[in-house]
Subunit: 407 residues, 2 copies
């Protein structure tokens, strides 16, 4: 039984331009952490990710939800978590502040993720193992599919999970091989050209075969120059992704993306405002076959649905510490499976939680095991930091979701 909870406002200063992008020049990686204390002595930890200022608002909103979990049994909660999620996310007064977006939804992510962590710890299993052992029906019971009825009914969702049983055994091999990573930290926005070049060399030496550069400079020539530096160092066999972090207007994106195509980006990420579904569609049509990736600022399953319906995104970067937690992440992953779009999470959690979720997506749902973003800057703050060997995430074996932070 959940006896009590604690909310912590944890902020971690980064150094030397790490984490910077065209829009967020000076982020403070921060977690609004929910800790659920169970009477078994186990603590479930979950968090949402912010960039500093306002992390306290998310903490305060998380307390509103966590308070309502007191006295609940985690197994009973998780047996029908879809209902719990639906009730929480639609609490009528709080709902007005979204609905299903912004501070209140981030808070719901924090509390939801703490539930999943507690669940896995109480079962003595790493979260990925708990999830892949659930039946299709048990998985669907953890999801809130409301407002998706036009494209994904409960029956269709069940069928997708059933379909995933085919080949599941073979896909389980990924547990031994590990899940490939890609390196986001070669080219933060504030890094100078020499540092980008040096970081590319380091990434390749460390075994990565995919890496990302931040673009969106005031002078597009800077972007183009730097993109070609990365391509030069990475060679033709590495994948290179470009990330504009919403910096461009649609007319700018149309012009700059065409210039950037010359260095063969694997994707162009967040070219413009994340609410502008139709702008992404216009851009995708104009720059095909170059693909767009997006999702870190898409707050809920409904907007993901619209993005998928237009067919404008080649990759979906759902993030379980930005969406309403693990539950909605799985919902969105199912939607993506239906539309045949790969899920390549944005890792506000630095990959700690997502290393579990991509294993589940691959093994149980049959999503391609493409690669998972890797950002090392907070490793020393986690009790069980993700282990990357030769560019590959090593499968976590400790019970829970790997989200416990050192004090």
């Amino acid at each position: 039984m959940i006896q009590n909870f604690q909310i912590r406002d944890r902020r971690f200063q980064l150094n030397g331009g790490a984490g910077s992008d065209a829009i967020h020049r000076d982020p403070i990686y921060s977690y609004a952490v929910t800790e659920l204390a169970d009477d078994s002595g186990i603590t479930g930890t979950g968090f949402a990710f912010t960039l500093g200022e306002g992390n306290d608002l998310v903490c305060k909103a998380a307390a509103f939800y966590a308070e309502q979990l007191k006295g609940k049994d985690i197994e009973e909660l998780m047996a029908n978590f879809g209902h719990v999620f639906n009730q929480f996310s639609n609490q009528q007064q709080f709902r007005w502040l979204g609905p299903h977006k912004g501070v209140v939804h981030l808070a719901l992510a924090s509390v939801t993720n703490a539930c999943y962590d507690l669940w896995a710890k109480k079962r003595g299993l790493p979260l990925w193992k708990l999830l892949i052992d659930l039946s299709p029906e048990q998985i669907i019971n953890t999801l809130d599919l409301s407002y998706l009825e036009d494209v994904l009914t409960r029956e269709q969702a069940l069928q997708l999970m059933q379909d995933g049983l085919t080949g599941k055994q073979e896909r389980n091999d990924i547990v031994l091989k590990g899940y490939p990573g890609y390196d986001t930290s070669v080219g933060w926005f504030n890094y100078d050209d020499e540092m980008v070049r040096a970081n590319c060399k380091k990434a390749i030496a460390a075994g990565f075969t995919a890496m990302k550069l931040k673009v969106g400079s005031t002078d597009p020539k800077r972007d183009i120059r730097r993109a070609h530096i990365v391509r030069e160092e990475a060679g033709d066999h590495c994948k290179v992704m470009l990330d504009a972090n919403q910096q461009w207007t649609l007319p700018q994106a149309l012009s700059i993306c065409k210039e950037l195509q010359s260095m063969q980006p694997y994707w162009i990420e967040e070219p413009t405002h994340p609410d502008d579904v139709l702008a992404h569609k216009t851009l995708a049509d104009a720059i095909a076959p170059t693909k767009i990736a997006l999702g870190e600022h898409v707050p809920n399953r409904i907007i993901f649905k619209n993005y998928l319906q237009t067919g404008c995104a080649g990759f979906m970067q759902a993030d379980a510490v930005r969406l309403g937690g693990v539950s909605e992440f799985i919902t969105v992953s199912l939607l993506c499976k239906k539309y045949g779009v790969p899920v390549v999470p944005h890792v506000g959690d630095m990959g700690q939680l997502h290393q579990h979720l991509v294993l589940f997506n691959h093994i149980s749902m049959g999503h391609e095991a493409l690669f998972l973003e890797h950002i090392p800057h907070l490793q020393k703050h986690f009790i069980h930091p993700a282990q990357i060997v030769n560019g590959v995430y090593q499968t976590p074996e400790v019970p829970g979701s790997s989200c416990d932070l050192k004090n």
Copy 2:
């Protein structure tokens, strides 16, 4: 010069089912109020509207913005408020909590509206008068048009305001006649059938020729029965609007809206989730010529743009205490003008602020003077409550935006 500020968390309990809808069964009408104290002794008051729980979060976020106004001269701020708005709404760490939606954007609305109120009070003018006397260029300088470049450049926006000069003099007559109102309070969700019927009679006796009923009942038969009660009382010459407050899934909306067409609704409002642009498009096509109204939960100009691009909304219910304040309300009104869609504000402010804005929209922009929602439940709390005579808003003459609350 703005010397200091105060943020107030004001909550007003409603009685007997007032304010209830299918989703929000027990709202507490609440304002996150920003008061900007100018060294002239004048205080500018603005607010954002919430339903109670979480109003404190908006207050806290508003303080973050208001703090940055200390020492600023209001005329200098407003001479280029579009830039101020852009800077505020893109403060990099806070931006991550939206962007441009949820708690942080509501907070920006509160602070923005306080600036407009202070501006008008210092000039000794009611806000509508201040706004209609501005030149097209001065108006455009108060707006942030970023991320609209694909449909509304600065030049196009200027041209729309220039076009509005034609006929402006004649449209000014509305000041004497007053702006028509419609009565939202005949049919709150929790009211029983007899009360709905009695309220319709009262509304007609009070001079209203348009009124609204809340629908979205678990049993659609209740909606249909009540809708016909209102039509019966209102007669064929009154306009009757139906408001589902997001309650339906798309399949439900498709089925129920077709049944409701038999009573000739003037519009069907918020049929489903406000983020689901494509569902609204599907529904609009299916139930034409019945029109959809929406907007109270559309948080920013970018999503309004997408709604307008699909052509699914017959009426746009922008709300200056839900969007980023007066500035973004005017931006959205310009977008609507471009697409030929009437603006019929949702009045989280009970019409206090919007009585000014609809006059401006009509006189300066040439929007049709359709009608403005009227909700009387908070009248006693305002220092200068809106005056409705024979169903018509009387033009406010007191300097400012009519948003000062009694203590």
